[in-house]
Every structure is written in C-alpha cells, then in structure tokens.
C-alpha cells in the first residue's frame, strides 16, 4: 500500500506524462457515451415490457361496445357534419371572416353540448385565446362529466377527442366515437371514477387551456374558468381517428411537453389491450412510415425508433393532445388510427372501453412502473439505469477537460537547467533508433526535464467574460419569445450573421484591452487566462448538461454530441491553417450552422423556404403556451454561449503573437519530446 502511494505521489509531483492523459480520456468518454446509446437496441440491453401495477388487470373484462351503438355512432357523425362548416375543408383555402368563424365555433359547441346533454351528462364550455408571435389561437372547449355511480367524485379519468388532430386533419370519426362512448358509459353502473369527456377545437392550445383551468393555474384574462370540475385526474386517453374508413393499426403517442413521459404502465396497458385483447397491431414513433415495416425487431428499425423517440423528447413539443397533461403529472397517451385495414370504429371504441375499465380499477395513482424510459418497440424498452450513464459520461468528458485545463492554467512550464548532458545525448540517439527500444527502458529512470512553477490564477476577467456572455444569451431568448411573426425572419437572420462574426470581434478586442489602473483585473488576458476561460466554460457546459440530463435526457445527449468540437479546439498562436480549419468546423457545429442546415434541408428536400421560420414560431408557441423551455434554453443559453467562447478562443489565434514558451500547451510538446 505504502509502495503504491509513494509511486503515485512521485508521479503526481511533476510527471508531464500524466497531463497528456485527460484529452484522450475525455475523447474516450464521448466515444463511450455514443457507443453506449448504439448498444441499447440489442436484446441484451433492452427489456420486455411488463405490467407492474397488478390492479390494472388489462384485458380481463368483456367489452360490450358494439351492435346498435354503431348506429348511434353514425347518427352522431351525421349530426356533427352539419355544424363543421368551413372547418371541414382542412385545406384552408376558403377564407372566411373572423365573425363567421366564431359563429361556426359557437354552433359547434352548442351542438356538442346538446349531444352530451341528451346522453344525460352535465356539460360546460370554456373559451380561450392565446397569443404567440403576434398570432391569436382561440376556440371553445366543450366537456361533459359523468359522475361515478360508485365513486365519491375525488378521482377522474379524461377522455379527449380534438376536432382537429396534431397534423390539423379533421378528427372525423374520433369526436362522434367519444360522444357515443359517453352515451354508452352513462348506462353502466360500475364506474368508480368520474369520467370527463372533453372535445377541444385543436390539439395544441385547447387541451392546454383546459388543463390549466382545471388546476386553476391559468391566466383568467385569456382563458376562461371552468364552471364544472371533478376530482383529481388520474389518467387521460386521447382519441384520434381522422378518417371515415376502417383502420389497420393503432399508433400510440406518449411523449409530453419538455420530454416528460407517462408512467410506462399506462402505455403497456394500451398495448396489451390493443394487441392482446382486440387483435389490433400497435406502433410507436411513426413506425408505419419505415421502409422496412415488417421487421420491427431488427436492429436498424429499433435504433430508428429509439432515435426518433429521443428526438421528439429533446424537442419537448406536443406530439398530440395528450402532451399538455404531462406537465401536471397526469399520465396520458394518444391513440391514433392509421392505415387501411379491417378494424372498424367499434373496435377502437372497445379498446378505449377496456382501457377505461382498467384505469377504473386503480386504487392509487400510477406509480409502480417507470417514468424514465426509452421505447424501441411497443413491447421493448430500456430504463433510466441503463441509458442515463451515456449522457452522464458525455457530460463528464467536458468536466474532465475543464479540470485538465484548470491544472494547466495554474502552472508555467520551464525548462530545467540540464544536469545530465549525457542522458540527453543518449536520448537523442535513441530517438533515431525507433520505438522498439522504448519498451525495454525502465520507467523509473525518468527524471523530469521540465519544471512547473505555480502561478496565481487571475480569475476576475474569465469569470466576468463568461458571466457577460451567458447573460447576453438571454437577449435572443427574449427576442424569440416576444417578437411577432413578421419580425422573426429578419431579426434572426441578423442574429445568425452576427453570431458568426461575434467571436472574431471579441477575439480582436480582448488583446486590445487597456492596461488601465482603475480596474487592473480587466487587462488584456494572458495565455493562462485564455486557458482559464476555456476551462471554466467547459466546466459550466458539463454542469449544465448534467443538470439537463436529469430533466430531459435526450436533449442533454444531443447537445452533448453537437458540442464535441468545443472540447478539443484550441488556440494556435500564430494563426495558420489549423485555426481556420477549426473555425470552419465550429461553424458547422454551431447553432447558426444548425439553422442553416435546417433551412437548406427545407428548401432542397421539401421545397419550402419557410421551414426555419415555422420552427422558430413553433418554439415560440411552445414557450408561450406550453412552457416548453427545453430547446430554446438548451440552444440559446447553453450551447450558444459555450460556442461563442470556444470560437473566440480559436479566433484569438489570429490576433496574438504569443510566445509559445509561456503557453501551457507547451507542456504537451515538451512532454511528447521527452517520452519519445
């Protein structure tokens, strides 16, 4: 033990070889994190899903929705068709006035309320109007409450059908199905939880307005209070059946705002009931659009599903009307009918019936199963314990680099006065002989040639600079969320061009800082301070990524990957081709580069030139209505500041005529030559 400690302390003292390890270790961490993710789809690392909560008993009951209910359903569809008005032409080329639209809106809500009332339920409606990017989103939510014959009204389940689904298609069959289910459920006496039937005009603003008002966290100036409420919401199931013909499979959407996920038990229940009891196939993450549809269990399609799931989680936008519920810790999923098959609307209704019966059994809120998981097939998942290390390892890579640079910044390397001239001659002779000799040389013969003289770290300038850059990153965030749609394109074009040149401006300004006497701390930075700036910036990046990984794993993972170049680019005093290459690399892996890539993709592959504006608008809407902060904060407040610092450091290569001898990077060179 003592021997080991001695050898370690001898190593620690002044062996420059130790200082060469961290960059490789950091690269290894990043590589390890990526490989880890790629391994997940294998059978050895993922698990079969299972039901944890025994009370659910999925598929254990007979379902009776069918028979004459089908006629009722058709009648409702006919009745609703009379009030859909211009909304039925989803193409949107019929321009109608605001007033006319409002008339139709009112007619629809009156009609739906009437249908609910005829089924014997209490109903109410709620007006809302949101403003984001200068656009107004308004409508009327209609809902009905079925009071549980066997309950005390303290718990409730929500069934939701939007008039238009997330793709803005008209939910032709879904809404009549919801109303016929309401009429059908009313006749049963076995409900022990209230059931709320909710019809929202759209899939993004309406559910949010309703759920906010249900929990009284809404802004009463824009969103109306709910006049009718029930108990604590246990779960929500959304029905989306946007055509009139029969369907083939059910697509289950489960991701919520900010990457929150419903309890895996709810998802499992839906899958078990649909495929086990009803014989309807299920898919997730648009698996039906894959080229190779039949082999969902093959590695490539599992990986594709995994990555799509992660991308959707990272974006943190709504993927269906269920997404808004997740903010309030209410487990929710959307079932969408897809494809052309032989399943009719009654089969869909029976699936919903069976899910409601299962949820009706619950004795407590769903809590048994996982809240953090990645699905790669509708019956295979990986849990947080298996996948979290990958994001953490990537975040750790930045921290390792930060510690390494911190150590470098604290010492200045000096050449030791050469004691043994003979040793040096021998060494230069060896260098020619090649590597074979290196192995045979005993390690402890080594006596350090370089000397470290400790330096006082001057932290004021690096900390001030970083704080200023991070605070400045709030400006684009503010602009994104408050500008109107007209102003967004030009402003963000200007901002994007500005961020490309900002590092160069900063880099040229830093060495020019006056050596004034009032603030001696803020003088032109020394080489060590440049290293410190990078160290602290990477430390912050690693810190933010770690925190983000606990809140939204996927976002942290993606940000960690796009930031990789930042950890490895460095100043190359004297300029030269290397720094130009590094700057170009950084430009590609930058928020601006991402935006440009997105715009180019939209232009060349979809043929639209407003893809970027669309996305900005979506992000702004997410921020204003859903409070979806992930991507705006992640990109503008974590990635952008770190990128500007990294790019500035690269750009300083062109503006300083630094003496390499004083640069801590010289350690590398010296130690390399020493070991050889």
């Amino acid at each position: 033990m003592g021997l080991i400690r001695n050898s370690i302390s001898r190593l620690r003292k002044d062996d420059p070889r130790l200082l060469r390890i961290p960059p490789y270790l950091s690269a290894l961490c990043i590589l390890g994190g990526i490989v880890w993710i790629l391994l997940l789809p294998l059978n050895e690392y993922s698990r079969q899903t299972y039901i944890s909560e025994n009370a659910l008993l999925p598929g254990q009951v007979h379902t009776y929705f069918g028979g004459s209910e089908q006629n009722v359903f058709r009648a409702y569809r006919q009745e609703l068709a009379t009030v859909l008005g211009p909304a039925s032409t989803s193409s949107g080329n019929v321009t109608i006035s605001k007033k006319e639209e409002r008339d139709w809106e009112n007619k629809r809500s009156v009609k739906i309320q009437e249908l609910f009332r005829n089924a014997g339920l209490k109903t109410a409606s709620q007006h809302y109007s949101y403003t984001s990017s200068g656009e107004t989103y308004e409508g009327v939510n209609v809902y009905a409450v079925l009071h549980a014959p066997r309950g005390d009204g303290t718990e409730a389940i929500v069934l939701l059908a939007p008039l238009k689904n997330i793709d803005n298609d008209l939910n032709t069959n879904g809404v009549p199905l919801l109303i016929s289910l309401a009429r059908y459920f009313k006749r049963w006496s076995l409900w022990s939880k209230d059931i709320i039937f909710l019809v929202t005009p759209d899939s993004f603003a309406g559910p949010q307005a309703w759920i906010d008002a249900y929990h009284s966290t809404h802004d009463p100036r824009t969103v109306e209070d709910l006049s009718l409420k029930s108990g604590a919401l246990q779960a929500a199931v959304c029905i989306d059946y946007p055509f009139e013909h029969r369907f083939e499979t059910l697509h289950i959407a489960y991701d919520g705002i900010n990457g929150a996920l419903p309890n895996l038990d709810l998802f499992n229940t839906a899958v078990t009931i649909a495929s086990g009891q009803m014989g309807i196939g299920t898919s997730i993450q648009f698996q039906h659009t894959y080229t190779d549809r039949d082999s969902q269990s093959s590695y490539p399609s599992r990986l594709q599903t995994l990555v799509r799931g992660m991308a959707s989680q990272a974006l943190g936008q709504a993927t269906g009307p269920h997404s808004s519920f997740m903010t309030y810790h209410i487990d929710a999923i959307t079932l969408t009918a897809i494809g052309q098959g032989w399943q009719d609307e009654m089969a869909f209704g029976r699936t919903i019936e069976s899910i409601c019966r299962s949820l009706n059994n619950l004795l407590e809120k769903l809590h048994q199963s996982f809240f953090f998981y990645l699905l790669m097939q509708s019956n295979r998942f990986v849990s947080i314990g298996t996948y979290l290390p990958s994001a953490m390892v990537i975040a750790a890579a930045y921290t390792i680099m930060a510690i390494y640079l911190w150590v470098l910044s604290g010492y200045r390397v000096k050449e030791k006065p050469i004691v043994a001239v003979k040793g040096k001659a021998e060494q230069s002779g060896r260098e020619k002989e090649g590597d074979a000799d290196e192995q045979t040389r005993p390690a402890f013969e080594y006596s350090p040639k370089v000397e470290f003289s400790p330096l006082d770290r001057r932290l004021v300038l690096p900390i001030t600079l970083l704080a200023a850059i991070h605070l400045a990153s709030l400006i684009p965030l503010y602009l994104l969320t408050s500008l109107t749609l007209k102003a967004i394109p030009s402003t963000f074009f200007l901002l994007a061009s500005f961020t490309v040149v900002l590092p160069i401006i900063l880099a040229s300004a830093l060495p020019e800082m006056p050596n004034n006497t009032t603030l001696p701390a803020v003088a032109a930075p020394t080489n060590e301070q440049y290293v410190l700036i990078k160290s602290l910036s990477l430390l912050l990046l690693g810190l933010f990524l770690t925190v983000l990984a606990t809140l939204n794993f996927s976002l942290s993972m993606f940000l960690g990957i796009v930031c990789i170049p930042l950890a490895f680019v460095d100043r190359n005093p004297g300029g030269g081709r290397a720094s130009i290459l590094q700057y170009l690399l950084l430009l590609i892996f930058s928020p601006t580069g991402l935006a440009a890539g997105l715009a180019a993709y939209g232009f060349f592959s979809i043929g639209r030139n407003d893809v970027l504006v669309d996305w900005l608008q979506k992000l702004a809407f997410g921020w204003d209505v859903w409070w979806s902060w992930g991507v705006p904060v992640g990109v503008l407040c974590i990635w952008l500041p770190a990128w500007i610092v990294g790019a500035t450091l690269v750009a300083t290569s062109w503006f300083t005529v630094g003496s390499t001898q004083e640069n801590p990077r010289a350690v590398k060179k010296l130690s390399t030559s020493r070991v050889r």
Partner: protein, 402 residues
C-alpha cells in the same frame, strides 16, 4: 473608521443596490417565487411565514397562533413600519459596508498577509449570487447575519459592549449565534486597547439578552408561546420542511423513541466545534468565527443559502491562504453542481413526480460535502500557514500526514 468613498467603492454599492431594486421592481413575481424555494427560505427564515405572523399581530392576535411563524416578534415591529424591499436591500448594503470596514481594519500576523482592499471584499459579498438570491427571496436570516457581522466589527474595533449587544440580538433572533460568544470574547480580549474584564462582558451579554426577551413581553402576551415556537422549533426540529441541511430527512426517518437522543447528538455536534477551534486557533479569532459560520451553514437545523452567503462574505478576507489550499477547484465545482442540481431534483420530486425525496436529499448531502471540503481545506491552509511561520525552512515543501 469610515469608508473612503472613491469612485470604485461608490460604483460597487450603487450597482448592487440598483441591481436588487431593479429586479424587485421589474419582476415582482420573482421575489415570491424565490421566497418559496426551500434552498432560500426555511421555516425559521421564510418571509411568507413572517407575513402570516404580521397579519395575526396586526389583528391583535398572537402571531404564534397557527404554528406557522417561528421567528422573533421584534421582526414584526420592523416590518410593520418599514417597506420590506428597502429593508432587505439596506441590510445587504450595511452588511457589505461592515465587511468592508472589517477588512480594512484587519491585520493578520503572517508574512503572506497583504493589506486588503475593503471594496473588493464588499463586492465579493454584494455580487455573490447566494447573497443576491437570498436578498431577493427576502430570507429573514439576513437580520441574524447583520447581528453577527456587527458583533465582529465592534469586537474588532474595540467597542466591547456594542459587540456583546449585537451578539445578544443575534442570539435573540435565532439562538445559534450564542455559540460565537467564546471567539468573540477572545477577539475583544486580544484587542490591546481593551481593558474590560471577561466576566463583565459575559454579564453584559446576558443582560442584553434578558432585556431583549423581556421586551417581548411588551409586544406579545404569549411569552411561552414565543419561547416554544421560536426556540422550541429550532431545538426540537418540529417542522420538517425540506431544506439544504442534514436534519430534516434524518428526523423524518428516525423512530420516535430515538428522536430525543439524536436531537441531543446533533446539537452537541453543532456546539462541539466551538471549544476546539477557539483553543487551537487562539491567535486568529476571526478565522475561528469564519470557520464556525461555515460549520453552522452545514450543521444547523434549518440552514439556507443565506448562511452560506455570510460564510462566503468572511472567507475572502483569507484570500492570502489560497496558495496553500488544495481542493478549492473541487469544492467550487461540487458547490456549483449541487447548486444547480438541487432545484432540478426538487422539481423532479415535487412537481414532475418522477423522482422522490432521496433525489433531493442526496444533493443536500453533496452540498454539505462541498462546504465541508471548503471548511476543512481552509482550516488546513491556515494551520499550514501557522506551521510555516514556526518553521520557515519547511516553506513550499510537501507534507504528509503520518
């Protein structure tokens, strides 16, 4: 001793005041939001609870009815008269000014020590994010902090009785400053211009405390209510609302039959450092106080970041020992990580529902670990500094504990 008002000093103070007032005016909701964060306001320092007490008090009821208010009644009188925002900003500024004066008057018997620039110390206190957050979150710990800083300032400048009175106010407000009596006395007695004897000082401290307590009789008729809900709550830790400390989780989990015993153990642990540190570091009473403040921020029943901000307010006066410390980077990173992970895990536990109490408790452990490293490391550095004065030939050589 007055602060020389040059442009830099004026800029620092004006900037800090402007920053606080601007945020308070521009984002009125932010103050309420911060005031609800468990890291900032604890049961004994929450402004929201104070408002509840104030409401009862103004309506002629005992402020301790309802068991929400655990603070001293003197605070009620202050907030009855003065607007809260101004009080908090003014106290922050006066604390900074006091630290400024302490730093200007500080002289330490070590060759490493260089004369401190008080305005830098004040800036370090005023622009410390923890100070800003606890000021905006209106944590009433700041009154105790002011009392402690005043005690130290007066002890240093030789106003023995004022120091004792300040310490008595601190003790009256939240009890634990009473533990600072030995180092403060030491500080006063070491002052050469001082001639008052120790026992008289102790008597004056006790007298001041008694006077403050009896003043309570005038303010509120339920004296025993006050004693039990102000001091009893701290002694027996009745309110187990989560905070950054180590007590709440432990006393949630513990079986009731062991509760009294472990409360004794925890308090003994908190008090145990006073004697040892005061004896060992006799020559540097200010450092004893600084270290004790760090330890209180870790081990007291209801710690918050306001306590840490006080510790970090004193610590920069010992910047000369920075070259001797070994783990500052680790301590700083650990504190940074836990500062951000703490609210994230609390959110996962309380709001998202996907985490549980262990998440947050684990982070409070890490936070305490970070502070412990900091306290331990600075203690090491000061001892090493003393040792190097004794044995100048060992300067710069590495030592190993055997």
């Amino acid at each position: 001793m007055a602060i020389s008002l040059d442009r830099k000093t004026a800029a620092i103070y004006a900037g800090a005041a402007l920053l606080r007032l601007l945020v308070l005016v521009a984002f009125p909701d932010l103050s309420d939001f911060l005031g609800e964060q468990v890291e900032i306001s604890t049961p004994i320092s929450s402004f929201k609870r104070l408002q509840e007490g104030l409401f009862l008090y103004q309506h002629g009821l005992s402020p301790y009815d309802g068991g929400v208010y655990h603070q001293a009644p003197l605070l009620l009188v202050i907030f009855e008269i003065l607007p809260s925002a101004l009080v908090f900003v003014a106290l922050d500024l006066s604390n900074a000014a006091s630290l400024h004066m302490i730093a200007e008057g500080l002289h330490l018997p070590t060759p490493r020590f260089r004369k401190l620039d008080g305005s830098i110390i004040a800036a370090a206190y005023l622009f410390n994010p923890f100070t800003i957050l606890s000021c905006l979150g209106k944590s009433t710990s700041i009154f105790t902090n002011t009392a402690i800083i005043q005690a130290v300032l007066n002890a240093q400048s030789g106003n023995a009785f004022r120091a004792m009175f300040s310490l008595a106010i601190g003790t009256y407000l939240s009890m634990y400053p009473g533990l600072l009596l030995p180092p403060t006395l030491l500080m006063i007695l070491k002052n050469k211009s001082q001639s008052t004897a120790g026992p008289i000082l102790i008597m004056s401290y006790l007298g001041a405390l008694a006077a403050l307590l009896s003043a309570t009789l005038v303010l509120t008729d339920g004296f025993w209510d006050f004693i039990s809900s102000c001091y009893g709550a701290q002694l027996t830790v009745t309110d187990l609302t989560p905070n950054v400390g180590l007590w709440w989780y432990f006393f949630i989990e513990i079986f009731d039959s062991f509760r009294d015993f472990f409360i004794g153990v925890f308090w003994l642990h908190l008090a145990g450092y006073v004697g040892g540190l005061t004896l060992r570091l006799q020559d540097q009473p200010l450092f004893v106080i600084t270290s004790l403040l760090g330890l209180f921020a870790i081990f007291k029943p209801y710690p918050s970041i306001a306590d840490v901000s006080l510790y970090l307010g004193f610590l920069p006066m010992y910047s000369h020992i920075l070259p001797l410390t070994r783990y500052t980077f680790i301590a700083a990173s650990v504190l940074l990580y836990s500062t951000l992970l703490g609210p994230a895990f609390y959110h996962l536990w309380i709001y998202a529902g996907s985490g549980n109490a262990n998440f947050f408790y684990a982070i409070t452990l890490v936070w305490s670990l970070g502070l412990t490293i900091l306290v331990g490391d600075t203690l090491f550095a000061v001892l090493r500094d003393e040792w190097e004065i004794e044995r100048p030939e060992m300067r710069g050589k590495s030592v190993r504990q055997i």
